[in-house]
Amino acid sequence: MKGFPIVGAAGLLDGTRPILGEALPGDDEFIPKNVRRRISRLIAQALRVTRDAGGLDASPEAPLVFATANGEINTIGAILPALMPAQPQVSPTLFHNSVHNAAPGYWAILSKRLAASTTVTMGKASFEAAMLDAWTRLADGDPEVQVTAGDEAITAAPWADPPHCTGDFCGSLRIVQPGDGPRLGRLVSVTFLPGRDEGFDPVAEAGKVGATEVADDPGTLPGGAAHPCAGAAAVLAFLLRPGAAGRMLLARRSPAGGRFVLVVEREAHG
């Protein structure tokens, strides 16, 4: 069967609420207090959903692809004033937390995992580009890939206007090579359609692949907050929502032109 099974999924809104269902157990054991003190909301949430999607059970060779549009933008916002005095002092913790791959770095340290990780960023298409990156890794034979996507509300960077990220969200998917194990659903395809808007009809595209749900450039989270990873939230909500089997199509305009198109299948579950 074409595509790759999705065996784990988790999403977190506002740092506390699962995207669907009941609150998950706390994470005191996984993130030690001395680490929690030092990390951003984004890192903390990325760590939690990566774990909750089953990341600790993943193959030792499974890479983590982290997707984020703005990364540690609030950390950059906190560093900028520190550069102003005559004797600038940048906190070493803020500095190493400011890189886009801070969350995967902490994940490797806390989970003691030696697998590769990367961070993909492409504005509002960051999640979708990361899914293409993950797709190529699976197509190339990686045993499984975990994709974690997230951004935190922009609170300390007033210059990042317009504020296209007004809420916190992180989500994670574990995608594996075809096999017989239990699954939530399937990543049917990730493709890239070149060109601008002319002639693209998401409903018609969905019809071609048998998708009954369509998310065309989603920009908001459940609850209404603007968020660049809204596509990830849509996929997770579709996968985790109880109901009959089905397919959804997610189309995302790339800021550089063209569209990423994902087709995801959900298994029936109650």
């Binding site: 791959n101 990367t118 960023t121 492409m122 032109g257």
Partner: protein
């Protein structure tokens, strides 16, 4: 693995804006580090490797993306434009992808805007958001295939090459432009200073008295393809032979001291290239000149390749270009394969007795060299190693 042809490559750094300028500076042992004064970081308390030419503005349709970072990127893509135009007959634009590595994007311009007016009116989405550099690159080369940015701090350029290779191997693209870029900025300057790993003088990779790194800036690009077009350029055939990538799971900024993570990615790269350690004729080391990195990396090299493979860090020439380092150093590594001359490790006068890897204090002729490796390591323990090959 099936090797991926490299059809062209470029480099922009403190050594110059062309491959020839890099070759001349490396051969002459002439550093690009400026000990006195910097136009980009005026009053900086340590040498920096600054690109000292006037950077042309972006073409008008891309003007809103303007930043020092974007201009450096454009400078690195410029020499590859004739090649890409020539390829367009064989490979249509929608099969041309772009992956760019950067660790700071337009941060230098944001800092200026913040100093001037709290960054009021600053166009974050076009000048600073990290994805914007892929928009610039795609616009400059006319790519209509997928474009995105990879940002893993100092290994960004190597991770971008790995993502590009995957796009090719999965059949998503026929050609991918892999670029990497970072401009000097105060955030990284004071960040590394705060970590206590910046040498106030010229950096000395692998020297017994080394004190830390110097920062640099730069950009580079590789044109990677799924296959070599029939009308080659007549020069030696270069290719990406393999790669390794992994996490150290040790510390956010300090390397695992025994070099286990470094050794793992080097061994993976060799295995993926289906070669043996003795096939590797040169290693361009990460070699930041921090006491911890150089000792750990040396141990990793000895574990993965043995003590005899010739190695050098070229950061004594360029400084540490962060997100651009892997790209520029890949181009220097390709140049070494083409020229059959291995660049010296500038700045090492008295070799650290704990370093058992073979550090080149002088250029070394390497007739017939077939494979060379380039290492890049990053915050978060993000380790990468690329293996390049040449057929003559």
């Amino acid at each position: 693995m099936h090797t991926l042809p490299i059809l062209g490559y470029s480099a922009v750094s403190a050594l110059g804006t062309t491959i020839d300028q890099h070759r001349q500076a490396l051969r002459a042992g002439r550093t690009g580090l400026s000990a006195s004064g910097s136009a980009v970081l005026p009053g900086a308390s340590a040498p920096v490797g600054e690109v000292r030419v006037e950077l042309p503005p972006l073409p008008r349709p891309l003007a809103r993306y303007d930043s020092r970072c974007a201009r450096l990127l454009a400078l690195a893509l410029d020499p590859l434009q004739p090649l890409l135009r020539g390829l367009s007959a064989t490979y249509p634009a929608h099969r041309l992808g772009v992956v760019v590595g950067t660790s700071a994007s337009g941060n230098r311009d944001l800092e200026d805007a913040f100093r001037a007016a709290g960054a009021a009116g600053y166009d974050y989405h076009h000048r600073q958001a990290f994805g914007s550099v892929a928009e610039v690159a795609a616009g400059l080369v006319g790519a209509r295939g997928p474009a995105y940015v990879v940002s893993t701090a100092c290994s960004s350029g190597a991770q971008a090459a790995i993502s590009a290779a995957r796009l090719l191997r999965a059949g998503v693209c026929d050609v991918v432009v892999v670029a990497s870029v970072d401009a000097l900025c105060w955030t990284t300057f004071h960040g590394f200073r705060g970590l206590g790993v910046m040498d106030p003088g010229p950096c000395r990779p692998f020297d017994a008295e080394r004190r830390g790194l110097n920062l640099g800036e730069g950009a580079a690009a590789l044109v990677l393809a799924c296959r070599r077009p029939p009308d080659g350029n007549g020069g030696p055939d270069l290719f990406l032979a393999g790669w390794g990538a992994g996490s150290e799971a040790y510390h956010m900024t300090a390397p695992e001291p025994e070099g286990e993570g470094a050794a793992r990615v080097m061994a993976e790269a060799i295995a993926r290239a289906r070669i043996t350690p003795s096939d590797v004729g040169y290693v361009n080391l990460h070699g930041t000149a921090t006491p911890a990195n150089d000792t750990a990396e040396s141990r990793g090299v000895v574990k993965a390749l043995g003590p005899d493979v010739p190695c050098s860090s070229t950061k004594g020439f360029t400084g540490h270009m962060l997100g651009a380092a892997a790209g520029v150093e890949a181009s220097i590594t390709l140049m070494a394969l083409v020229d059959e001359v291995l660049p010296r490790n500038l700045g090492c006068e008295v070799l650290d007795p704990d370093v058992r890897a073979r550090i080149l204090r002088d250029d070394l002729a390497a007739p017939g060299i077939r494979y060379a490796m380039s290492n890049s390591f990053a915050f978060g323990g993000n380790d990468t190693s690329l293996v390049f090959g040449v057929r003559r």
